[in-house]
Amino acid sequence: MKKTIIPVIIVIIAFIGFSIWTQNFLNNTAQAVAEHLNIIEEAVSVEDWDLASNEIDKVRHKWGDIKKRWQMLIDHQEIDNIESALVRVYSWIDLEGRDDCLTELATLKLFVLHIPEREAFRITNIF
């Protein structure tokens, strides 16, 4: 009996540990992206297109790294949503369209911050 229970307990502990690490990782990475998006939002509001362009390049670069890891952890549909919103924000900054850019930024931020929310271990997510 002990020979079965001990490995099962080890696997469960490892699984819970991995889940907690995943949750933290998703939280931290989503917050990091959101911070850049806040800077872009402020820059776009005052039509500082150079700063917005610099920041969106940073976000795209960062997103490239994050995406590789997120793909192993979350629904790919969610990643596709973020990808397409990111492309739209990039285009609007390029075109210097303030209102549309702010709208797309809000959407992108929602998509990014929605991921750790969705994956969080809480009763509303279970049921």
């Binding site: 699984f15 889940s19 995943t22 949750q23 952890l73 629904d75 994956e119 997510n125 279970i126 049921f127």
Partner: protein
């Protein structure tokens, strides 16, 4: 990730409870309507288990609805012969007095190979040895061999046999089965005396039972034997 884990546990517990409420049937003995419900429940539980986008309630409510339907249908089939015949069908005689009922086989779309295979699995290689073969509503083939071909019983040989009671388990994995002791009209002091006379304690017994003749059989745990 933990959400999926907990959702899986919740659904598993619900499905086990639902299957227990549905009653004691083995998969092979399910009636058609029960088989349909079992398949649907498996599907309904599997989808919300992995997709956290679907509310768990969306999986639980259909399962409970199916449980409700199953209870109603099984109760109705219990009470009404007509409903039973409609829902479960009726048994079919496929071999009668050593002759295969060709018409019935064709109606049931039951081929000869399947029939012969079933007969062989019941140690009856010759169709002529069969008095009746009945295809039950659950899909099982029950065979009644001709009286000359069935195994000899003590009654055939006119031999008197002693009464044989059902064996009663008294200790399982070190735990005394008090209900069974009462059923056997024995008490704990009798059991302790028996165990002491064999130099063993109840907690060291892996399995002990009263056989059909009332003899106590004891098997101690392996670690104690070594």
């Amino acid at each position: 990730m933990l959400n999926v884990f907990v959702r899986s546990l919740v659904l598993y517990i619900v499905v086990v409870i639902v299957m227990r409420i549905m009653g004691k049937r083995q998969i092979g003995q399910l009636q058609p309507f029960e088989l349909v419900i079992a398949i649907l429940i498996a599907e309904l539980a599997a989808i919300p288990m992995q997709d956290i986008g679907i509310p768990l309630v969306n999986g639980l409510i259909p399962i409970l609805a199916l449980l409700f339907a199953q209870l109603i249908i099984s109760y109705a089939t219990l009470k009404s012969e007509r409903i039973r015949a409609f829902v479960c069908g009726s048994p079919s005689i496929v071999i009668e007095n050593g002759r295969i009922n060709e018409k019935e086989l064709r109606r049931l779309r039951y081929n000869l190979n399947d029939l012969l295979e079933q007969l062989r699995s019941k140690n009856i290689p010759n169709v002529a040895d069969v008095e009746f073969a009945i295809l039950e509503t659950g899909g099982q083939l029950n065979v009644i061999p001709k009286s000359q071909k069935r195994p000899v019983t003590p009654e055939d040989l006119q031999i008197d046999t002693d009464y044989e009671a059902i064996p009663i388990t008294l200790i399982m994995d070190g735990h005394i089965q008090h209900k069974n002791l009462i059923k056997a009209k024995l008490d704990i002091s009798w059991l302790n005396n028996q165990l002491h006379s064999q130099g063993i304690e109840a907690k060291d017994v892996f399995f002990a039972y009263l056989d059909s003749l009332g003899n106590l059989y004891i098997q101690s745990k392996e670690e104690k034997e070594q």
